[in-house]
Symmetry: C2
Amino acid sequence: MSKLSPYNARHVLVENLDQGKWIQTRKINYQDPTGSDRVWEMAVRTTRTATTNVDAVSIVSVLHHPDRPKEIVLVKQYRPPTQKVVLELPAGLIDPKELIESTAERELLEETGYHGKFARQSIVTYSDPGLTNANMVLAYVDVDLSDVHNKLPQPQLEDGEFIETFTLPLNNLLAELEAVIQREGCTVDARLYHFAVGLDLAKQL
Amino acid sequence: MSKLSPYNARHVLVENLDQGKWIQTRKINYQDPTGSDRVWEMAVRTTRTATTNVDAVSIVSVLHHPDRPKEIVLVKQYRPPTQKVVLELPAGLIDPKELIESTAERELLEETGYHGKFARQSIVTYSDPGLTNANMVLAYVDVDLSDVHNKLPQPQLEDGEFIETFTLPLNNLLAELEAVIQREGCTVDARLYHFAVGLDLAKQL
């Protein structure tokens, strides 16, 4: 490891700049790999639970049907920070002491009405690591469309949630997402978009 | 469109809560689709340029070589908000009046030393739309490894940048990323991770 490796940076002191109800701004004093003192600002969600150390779970929920191509379950919701309706994977903040597994199945049912079965979860990843420590895991949840519970999915939205569910085929996800965005004038979560870009680029390998 | 469609939400008033040097916290007063007044907090980068209305560009840079599988150019850097070294796509904030195209080629050269050719750019996407209006575009930049300029790539890092470049094969990106994370105790940007998940899931279609 060279002297200037990014692994040689160190936190020194973190000061709270501002305490909103849901977001805190912090000033980080750290040493860069040369030992020089530097300053960075960050935004922090105040809702992270101590038990999981993870903010949120996003759900890759694939619909399995014997006669149809695989589809993925997506949601539309108005996101105030963007002033737009955003296309996203179903997701939710993790409740205190709740497991990723049950959070994923519960959020999928509440937001979309689909009864799914948790398969596995990803490592922890950071949504915008230059700006915030906000982090998340991906949960893979399979939905069996031949299950009687999934014939007429009924979302169970909480007060203040206005979420619309839709599905798109996995084998043409990028073009289909862009068509929805073009048609409806909405926008898209970067994580969902990168997932679609990966699916698309795989066709050229 | 139903009365409760997410498209029926409206911004009313945005108040500045706090002004850091690089991050501002804002309180958004908006109406939900039923017309009820609601409040949301958000974090805003203060660096966005008026000319592009986009914060950042991330670069999907594929190395083309006649005899080798396609590889993607990635970077490691210490990200103070996470207190960790993070694996990411090369990226940068867009300078005032700079085009996406030249930002992408310039950032790739500065961070990694590779001379690439801009091919195309994505639509604008939002990195964590429940928390912030921070947004980005993906730029696709091709790197020809048979070009003499790419024989010994030399990064041109600015003062305060400690970025290490590495490459991984596109056809096994998810497993290779997870191996680096396991081995080095670092973490990963959620957008890069979703891209790798898409590439991986495509194998099952």
